[in-house]
Subunit: 337 residues, 4 copies
């Protein structure tokens, strides 16, 4: 932490700031710039409230040097994390392809899609049982019945299931029944939920919030990891920008950025990003060559009658052709599908 001190500060005022730094068990190094006086704070500053020094009138700026996350930080954990899910894994050489409908609608629907995406090479089945919807009047998911149907599809296909949790209320059921628990973008900073998930040992698929910085995403991962659960998979799914042609703007540069800052696996959701089915293919391909560890793709056998997000779902045949292309690109990148 570096403090830039106003050049009109008195010696007494500067002494007071130094005393305060020492109270946190840190040391001070000092230097005079041309127009600024600089105080460097050496030691573990991660417990110092950022506001602590900003409130002091002679402090013009507080600059953080150290990233505020530890367990998610590649600095302290140089090797890539590989998260095990049943007999599979996410973060290794093999790309994790998670596919399925936005929401589980019926036994027939989920089973048909599950079989189909499995045949095309997907490794995991996604499907929403509890759905976060902007409108209280929209379909909110089949809830517990949806979980049952997902389990049924898993039984029939062997695909591990990935589904979103919306509240701590159902935590025990999710831990018991689900293979990967997804935290949606809108809940990325639902800290109570993160903390509870940190006490389990379930793989958590943590989606980046619509306007969350990469650092905030890593801090939310840190919440889960600080509780003891290091099985966190990060997911970029589009951020909110001024551009409205696409629903969100897919930030593929988040892949190399996160790979540099953290050791956690990163997957991409090309379906929610643009919200347009015909953009899924180019963005999925781009993600693979940019270094993603996997993809989560919405596939629906009847998008026009889907109960949610039909506009961004692709049909099984289209998914199959896409997988063919992705396999070639994965090979070029020395990965597998």
């Amino acid at each position: 932490m570096i403090l830039v001190i106003n050049n009109q500060a008195s010696e007494k005022e500067i002494e007071d700031v130094k005393k305060k730094i020492h109270q946190f068990g840190c040391e001070v190094y000092e230097s005079m710039g041309l127009n600024h006086h600089i105080l460097g704070v050496v030691g573990d500053t991660s417990d110092i409230e950022s506001g602590t020094f900003q409130t002091i009138s002679i402090v013009d700026k507080v600059i953080l040097v150290q990233e505020p996350y530890k367990k998610a930080n590649r600095l302290f954990h140089p090797d890539n994390t590989v998260v095990d899910v049943n007999d599979r894994s996410i973060g290794g050489k093999k790309l994790a392809i998670i596919a399925g409908p936005c929401s589980v609608e019926s036994e027939e629907q989920i089973l048909s899609i599950a079989k189909s995406v499995k045949n095309s090479g997907a490794g995991f089945l996604r499907g929403g049982a509890f759905k976060p919807r902007t409108s209280p009047y929209a379909f909110q998911g089949l809830k517990r019945e949806g979980l049952e149907l997902l389990k049924f599809a898993r039984e029939k296909t062997g695909l591990p299931i990935v589904t979103e949790i919306m509240s701590t209320e159902f935590l025990d059921e999710f831990v018991e029944q689900v293979d990967v628990i997804q935290v949606g973008a809108r809940n990325m900073q639902n800290f109570d939920l993160l903390r509870q998930l940190g006490k389990t040992n379930k793989p958590i698929l943590l989606k980046r919030g619509l306007s969350a910085t990469i650092e905030e995403l890593l801090m939310s991962a840190e919440y889960i990891m600080a509780g003891g659960n290091e099985n966190v998979i990060l997911c970029e799914r589009g951020i909110r920008t001024f551009e409205k042609y696409t629903r969100n703007t897919l930030d593929l540069s988040a892949i190399p950025a996160i790979k540099k800052l953290s050791h956690l696996p990163v997957i991409i959701d090309p379906s929610h990003a643009a919200g347009l089915w015909w953009m899924v293919e180019p963005m999925a391909k781009a993600a693979v060559v940019a270094g993603a560890d996997g993809l989560i793709i919405e596939v629906h056998n009847d998008p026009e009658n889907a109960l949610c997000d039909g506009a961004q779902s692709i049909k099984p045949e289209k998914f199959d052709r896409l997988m063919g292309k992705l396999k070639i690109l994965a090979q070029v990148e020395d990965r597998e599908i």
Copy 2:
């Protein structure tokens, strides 16, 4: 709802779309533009999934005409809503001034601040007991003990208390003990929480999410209102933009916008918006003359040692001087403090 149809669509394809519209109990009006064929959907379209028509290949665009919220919509409720809180109200001629520390830290602290802001003319006491913090290592609030201290301060000063709920887990305690339940920006789309709050009759202070549109804020209000609780107060607290000199960008145009779209009261939080104590005064004044129904301001007797958000808190003396200025402006605007 208006559908813009591709000019290469066949008659048969258009017929199919019309049939689908009729299935929703809506009627179709039709018109040919120079390069586009237009289908208007007349009837109650609020139950139609937006994706329903976007998935059809001949549909180029789906344009919504009707706002997706009903109970929060001024169209169906022309008069301003006034929310009663104990013997006070929010949304009437008198501005609601809510003041207090970011977090409750001790009996002495909260009582001292409560007395002080009351003397300056504040009508409500704010204070965090459960704190949403970006870092798992930061102070998370005194929790239940914080609630007890707030109640103690209320008992001594008569000020109704406003505090944030972070999870449905503590809902009953909040309903029993708190006067206005605050939903923080990060939980604005925690739909489970909103739904539960909709089943109570408590006044809810709903903060706009960092990157939520005004329409999304109103949809979240709709969640609470759809459950039967119409005591919703909206709060603008700064949105996330590219500008980083301020922590967020206070969107004061949200005041006239919300007043036009909705009948619910709107208050402004100038403390969280910029995150800089010296911007609280100009932004608070601006909010009052722009038509806000109130303000929520962080006041701390010792910002330099505050356990959170010290950088944006003002001292009681500064708050007192600010209130003097606000009273004059309120009078100019034919409001009261």
Copy 3:
């Protein structure tokens, strides 16, 4: 400038960086954090290309301490700048109210509006002669004829005229004929134009770009000032954000921010910000109490038939009522109109 050095750097590599710092005539202070090695660069760093050190592989971060602008910086010029325009001034106790149509359309139109806004108390007349339009097919202004009409209106009313320059091609004519030369938001970083304007001594009204940070706005002012022209007036006119209910989001916190960072006057354009005539009044009032030095407001006698921006123009009667309200607020703020 502060360099954060990777903790895996060798002594040799660090020595090389220090040598490079010395080459720029700067000194180095050094300190070891827990996980980082810090090199502080002391001296005039404003000539060092920011990329110079970022390219070195052992440098993890380059942190700038000093603002990159000098002449616009309040640090070196503590007193407010007051810009003289004919017999008036901008930046002093009296607020500068600039009013008039988006574009000059006819002698009758500009004269009628000029007289009307003068009667209401405006101090300056605005009107576009050369219009920057998103579409090549839209009305592009009366150009030279527009300038003539503005001069005619000035002759009849005595109001100094403010109008936008779009290209260096017409620079001489503008210098000779216009009282305040406006640089539009889209040209805020047209550096050639800025440089040319820096060689004149005309007052320049510099509008903030749609997505320009406050620092970038000050750097563009610096371009003009570096050439010797210190008569710069800054103008906030709304920034581009994700919110689309308003055309742009008016950033009123830019007023106190700029006042802290710079000595230049700041005015607000409430018309272009929201793009909605009914938001002009609340935002104009908010700007005055937030500390703006003036306003630039679009007034049109026949908005429905205006050749541009009718949607954000207010009628003369509405402007007159607004001025009545602004006079009271100015008085409360110890300013005048």
Copy 4:
């Protein structure tokens, strides 16, 4: 164009609006929604000022159906445009790889880089002679001398040269000497410059502004094309968002979006987007598989001593390895390099 009329409008008021529509030579179709009255405007609406109807008090919303660009619109020009540049082309099967330094610094530098990138397979040489810099104190380019050096490098290597124009002042020289004239992001809406370029027949590389929507980019292309010059190449180079880890956020979904809306070629600038040299490779690869028609990449033989943008430049050896990978990906995509 569709007008949503307030449900409290009188018949007389609606009649007036219809008359106005007829005045523009358009026809009206009409329909009653449940809560809104809808007027459809049929005919060529591209000449109607968007504000024309928004100013009418009974008009709640104006919805545009037709895109405002014509010549750039794929609707009227279904086939891809291929722009010829000397003996090469941009927009065909062969990807256009444009490489070179941020700015031309010396004969030795530009020649060495030109030879090197040619050997690696680049088809065009880029290099800045006139440099737009945020700071007036930063290196502004070698200007005319830079153009001479570029011509010299072209003579020696045969690579067509691409360089940025900053002002109409040098237009004739650029037309005579340069092969592709680049319009930088900051000048995307310098309409005077665009108009002048429209009168030439030079290939124009038009970069998307930092906060320009895709539609605005296409409108700026339209400015050039409306003047008669249809040789426009579009370039996405990162947009401004809240995320600050990267300098800008590369919007790769702009590739399929532009391909759908327009027939013009699209290239990607992975260097300016992130501003980080180590992100150039993953983003360049992603661009190719997402369907880009080419890349513009900064290559410098000595990034640490580059006079600008060193932080985002890659060395020739790195560029060579990157080209090897891109060739494989191009082949997979049925393109060539």
